[in-house]
């Protein structure tokens, strides 16, 4: 009884139910474990392309997606695995794609950098820094044109905010009040370059003022805080008030890409951020505010590990494309395998 009471109280305090909280934790855990295994699988030769791991940034992807509806659409950047899984993508198909199999999300043609889930409205990771920003803006334009309440979300980094695509898109979206969330994951670095060496401002969100749209800074390692600003921003967008720039302050635990030892980062900085690991912080919230038990928390982790075991096994069994499959999909009307001359 006390247990149930505590939970009710806590539920109110955190604005979510324990079940919802455990689901957020499950997604964050899934992303982290997915990335850790991907690194090992790459080392073992299963993944031919490069990987940009998002470990440490899980709370952003999961918090944002928690505010979305089924018909919303998303674009992403090179560090997109978390964004996909936050949206509910299937790790099995993701691994199959990383393994370059024909049943992967992109039929083995895309890999990490271009991964999509069309059914979830996930329009793709992107190999071009800033490249996803105009795409989401355009998607939002079409959503608005057809009178839908759906919103578009685009994820990008601090470094991407220096690209012309950022500027032009935010201006367009603000001007036309397009339903789009510009979500900047500020992890303090673009590749090996610190933020202070690529821009003068401390907050990317402060750039919003240049276009007349609201800019919000949020703790990107606090999944509930991210969820809250995303709810406000989607609410704004759905009611025709236009876009929001959300800057989530976060940190990538690993290097820029798998293999980068990230020696350019001060040890103290890394250590401080590891203490703010969202996968340490959020279980505490669940425990303290929602009364989650050790058993419940352990169960999340165990179910994730079991799922990934199965997913990887499945993915490893998937068929490779044939060489000639390379000739398909150049044009929609050339599915017959003959490239258009």
């Amino acid at each position: 009884m006390t247990d149930a009471l505590t939970r009710t109280t806590a539920r109110t305090a955190a604005g979510i139910t324990l079940e919802e909280g455990l689901e957020l934790l499950r997604k964050m855990t899934l992303i982290r474990r997915f990335e850790e295994r991907a690194a090992r699988l790459r080392a073992a030769g299963f993944i031919p392309g490069f990987l940009h791991p998002c470990s440490g940034q899980e709370a952003v992807a999961v918090g944002i997606s928690a505010a979305l509806r089924k018909d919303d659409v998303l674009t992403s950047n090179h560090r997109g695995h978390g964004h996909l899984m936050g949206r509910g993508a299937d790790p099995a198909q993701m691994y199959a794609e990383l393994f370059a199999r024909s049943t992967g999300y992109n039929a083995g043609k895309g890999g990490s950098l271009h991964m999509i889930d069309a059914d979830l409205g996930f329009l793709g990771a992107n190999g071009i820094v800033g490249g996803g920003i105009p795409l989401a803006t355009g998607a939002a334009l079409q959503l608005k044109r057809r009178g839908s309440e759906a919103v578009a979300v685009t994820y990008f980094g601090d470094g991407a905010s220096n690209e012309g695509a950022f500027h032009e898109s935010l201006n367009l979206a603000a001007l036309w009040k397009l339903p789009v969330l510009f979500v900047c994951e500020n992890n303090l670095y673009g590749e090996f370059t610190r933020q202070s060496e690529h821009m003068v401002l401390e907050n990317v969100a402060d750039r919003a003022a240049a276009y007349g749209l609201p800019g919000v800074v949020v703790d990107g390692n606090d999944v509930l805080a991210v969820k809250k600003v995303a709810e406000e921003a989607t609410e704004r967008a759905r009611s025709g008030m236009g876009p929001t720039l959300i800057e989530a302050k976060t940190y990538r635990h690993k290097g820029h890409f798998e293999g980068d030892m990230a020696r350019y980062r001060p040890k103290e900085e890394v250590e401080a951020w590891l203490k703010r690991d969202p996968l340490l912080l959020f279980p505490e919230v669940l425990r303290e505010e929602l009364g989650a038990t050790d058993a419940e928390l352990d169960a999340v982790r165990e179910s994730v590990e079991a799922q990934l075991d199965r997913d990887i096994e499945w993915a490893k069994e998937q068929p490779h494309p044939t060489p000639e499959d390379a000739l398909r999909h150049v044009y929609v009307d050339s599915h017959n395998g003959k490239a258009l001359r």
Binding site: Y105, N126, L340
Partner: protein, 336 residues
């Protein structure tokens, strides 16, 4: 005689497709209320209003990017690039995004959209407002490339482009519009014209002259002059560069045994190189003499009219080249 200009063809194709399909819309700089710098979209604003014509800030990357993004979720955008030279600013969205969407996603998504590229040299607009870059886009798998030379073709091909499931680069030579587009001319019914089917504008037996866009006019004029000299030219307009009507061209070469390609773009790296190379590979058996290209000279486009006319492959240069080709079939030829 009907008063139906190239600009009318474009405008009518857009209007008819917008009537047919609410997903179709136009986005670009001053395409809406003002009717465009060339007057091509004049009158559409009153009929269709701001939800179908998006007057954009001067942001080419965002314009084309918005088109790509919209196309991913059911839109059928037509992005206008006021001078194709400005497409340099939107190249990532064209080449890295739109062209590759379908492929990179393993066929799961596609990007059905049109980029209207107003192109070519027309009256001392200088090096940054006159370029012909169509060959670039033929080198990007995933893009289709259309290059009409008549009002009817403009209308029929643009309709097809708008309905096409893939991204289409649609080139409009500003020298073909006829002035500033003027008031809406007569309406001519034109059905969608399938891609990949060339058109023989004049039949002939001595030489096949391939040309498109504005240069087709010069090629036809050259053919007329040469007819008086007893040289019979077949003027072949491919109309679409990707896909290209190689069957049609081969059939023509089987008749004539000689090939000359004329286009405004600089000869080096122009699409004429691709046609010539294809013929050298595949029509060695029917070619009686060397192939020949007549292109723009390998220079930026100069301002002064006397220089501008000189670098373009106009009637006289085409005429002289055909004459040289036909009269000296075995000699090694230097392009004129």
């Amino acid at each position: 005689m009907t008063n139906f200009t190239f600009a009318d063809g474009i405008r009518q194709a857009i209007a008819e497709e917008m009537d047919r399909d609410p997903a179709v819309f136009v986005i670009g700089e001053d395409v809406g209320e003002s009717g465009g710098v060339f007057g091509v979209t004049k009158g559409l604003w009153d009929r269709f209003g701001p939800d179908r014509l998006w007057d954009s800030p001067i942001s080419e990357e965002a314009i084309v990017g918005a088109a790509v993004g919209a196309s991913l979720v059911g839109g059928r955008p037509i992005a206008e690039i006021m001078f194709s030279d400005f497409s340099m600013l939107a190249m990532d969205m064209i080449v890295n995004q739109a062209a590759k969407t379908h492929y990179m996603t393993g066929g799961k998504l596609s990007s059905p959209m049109v980029v209207r590229m107003i192109t070519g040299t027309n009256g001392s607009t200088g090096a940054q407002h006159s370029q012909s870059l169509e060959s670039w886009f033929t080198h990007v798998p995933g893009l289709k490339v259309v290059a009409p030379s008549t009002p009817e073709d403009a209308k029929g091909l643009l309709k097809s482009a708008i309905r096409d499931p893939d991204p289409v680069m649609f080139f409009e030579h500003k020298g073909l519009y006829t002035g500033r587009g003027g008031p809406a001319g007569d309406v001519v019914e034109v059905d969608p014209i399938p891609f990949g089917v060339g058109r023989i504008h004049r039949a002939g037996t001595d030489v096949t002259v391939v040309s498109y866009l504005k240069t087709r006019e010069y090629a036809l004029a050259a053919a007329e002059t040469l007819a008086e000299e007893g040289i019979s030219c077949e003027v072949f307009d491919p109309r679409t560069l990707v896909p290209f009507d190689y069957e049609g061209l081969r059939a023509s070469l089987e008749k004539t045994g000689r090939l000359l390609i004329a286009h405004e773009a600089p000869a080096r790296g122009g699409f004429g190189a691709e046609i010539a190379a294809w013929a050298a590979e595949n029509c060695h058996d029917v070619l009686r003499s060397p192939v020949m290209r007549v292109g723009g000279h390998n220079t930026p486009i100069p301002y002064a009219p006397v220089m501008e006319q000189f670098v373009l492959p106009m009637t006289e240069r085409i005429t002289d080249s055909i004459r040289a080709l036909v009269q000296n079939p075995s000699r090694q030829l230097q392009s004129l």
